[in-house]
């Protein structure tokens, strides 16, 4: 199941949903906004996305993962809108009978999400706003699959 939403999510609740099907391995990933308190004026992030496309792009990434590994339930949540330091941004949870499949699929989904989901981050600070630059390491991460 895929959600693109402004509201926060509860990792414990999402884990319990993944657990229901009785698979032996559950891997979760949560990405969080850095704690800006140590980094000067940055106050938070704004996440823009392409509404009609984002869920579809995420569904396709999950579908690709299912073709590679035997998976049970898969859950992806991506937040958009305004976020503060320390806030949760993204949840990926994968259940499988095999731990390697669960680990690989969760990492695969995150790597593809980082380069293919139409979402953009802008940092808000006292002196204005600044779009976050894309990282070449994210493109490299996709190449390993």
């Amino acid at each position: 199941m895929i959600s693109v939403q402004q509201q926060d999510f509860d990792c414990g609740h999402e884990y319990q949903q993944l657990r229901e099907q009785g698979q032996g391995a559950i891997v979760t990933f949560v990405g969080l906004v850095r704690d800006f308190n140590q980094e000067g004026q940055i106050k938070g992030l704004h996440l823009e996305h392409y509404p009609q496309m984002t869920e579809r792009a995420l569904e396709q990434i999950v579908e690709q993962a299912r073709q590679r590994w035997p998976l049970g339930k898969v859950r992806v949540i991506h937040r958009v809108g305004d976020l503060d330091g320390g806030d949760q941004i993204v949840f990926v949870g994968v259940a499988s009978e095999h731990r390697d499949a669960a680990f690989s699929a969760a990492q695969f989904i995150m790597d593809y999400l980082k380069t293919q989901a139409p979402i953009w981050k802008k940092e808000r600070s006292d002196i204005g706003e600044q779009w976050v630059a894309s990282k070449s390491s994210d493109n490299d991460a996709v190449k390993k699959w």
Binding site: E48, Y50, M53, A57, L113, I119, W120, S134
Partner: protein, 81 residues
């Protein structure tokens, strides 16, 4: 007609969220991008930096041929997650 949408820093630099554009048979996303930037001014931003393309909500190569009534999106490399 083709619907064209822009996102993130590209949207801001173009000062444009979306426009309608005349459909010409056989046109590719790359042609469309060239036509837009040929307008000069802010539109040159389309040539300056990495621009990705989606056609009908699907990431697509710039060489892809566009059909009438398609929705074409141009945007910078994504930074979600």
């Amino acid at each position: 007609m083709i619907k064209i949408v822009f996102f993130a820093q590209l949207r801001e630099r173009l000062e444009c969220e979306q426009i309608q554009w005349d459909y010409v048979q056989g046109i590719t996303a790359a042609h469309l991008k060239s036509q837009l930037s040929a307008q000069g001014g802010n539109w040159l931003a389309l040539e300056e930096s990495d621009v990705l393309c989606a056609i009908n909500h699907e990431i697509s190569a710039l060489e892809t041929i566009i059909n009438d009534n398609d929705e074409v999106a141009f945007f910078p490399p994504v930074t979600g997650g």
